[in-house]
């Protein structure tokens, strides 16, 4: 029987992500926690938090992987919202209220959506 343990590092990283208005990268988390735990441990904690559905992974348009808290995923884990990527400050924000519409002409089976708009965020424009 596998059980989950709440360690200091895990709790602190989860709160860091939950309280951040923007998605955070592994590097940003590492600087923010400043020696709290090993680089590898951060990777493993992020992996665990993602599997547990407490955070979600966002790959930015420049390929940088970031992590954001799941705010409205309590009942169903839904990430079909738009992300905004600021080209100036490099921040990635979840725009949870915006859902895009589209129509597929061919016979594709869709199970996931990833929609990122780039430009300037309110702070930078």
């Amino acid at each position: 029987m596998k059980s989950v343990r709440n360690t200091t590092a895990k709790t602190e990283i989860q709160e860091l992500i939950a309280n951040s208005p923007v998605a955070l990268s592994h590097t940003e988390i590492q600087s923010a926690t400043n020696g709290l735990c090993d680089r590898v441990t951060i990777y493993r904690i992020l992996e665990r938090l993602t599997v547990e559905g407490l955070i979600h992974k966002v790959v930015n348009v420049d390929g940088v992987v970031k992590y954001a808290g799941c705010h409205s995923c309590s009942e169903k884990h839904n990430h079909n919202h738009i992300h905004f990527s600021c080209q100036k400050c490099k921040s990635v924000t979840c725009l949870e209220d915006v859902e895009p519409s589209y129509k597929l002409p061919k016979k594709y089976t869709v199970s996931e959506m990833n929609f990122t708009l780039s430009g300037l965020c309110p702070q930078c424009s």
Copy 2:
């Protein structure tokens, strides 16, 4: 005055991408060309072709960088279309005809769009 030279490697890689129905990664191009040129040269050719507007760079939802030919970019370089990423065969396809609609509530300035749907492609479903 900087001029552009058409080398064997550049021509071959450009044709490879142009004739492929799916976007190709650096690794895939390297295997396909099989020792045609150095690994670094491939990176530099892809960079040049992108700058010249002959191909475009697509970052897949899993962070893998791929390159696709520009088919309908003759007059204006427009990449505001949907990409489809197959979760089984890992192929990335440009669905050039599909343009999604959305509405942004807050004061964001949008200059680029990146929309990728994941699931099963016609071949895999």
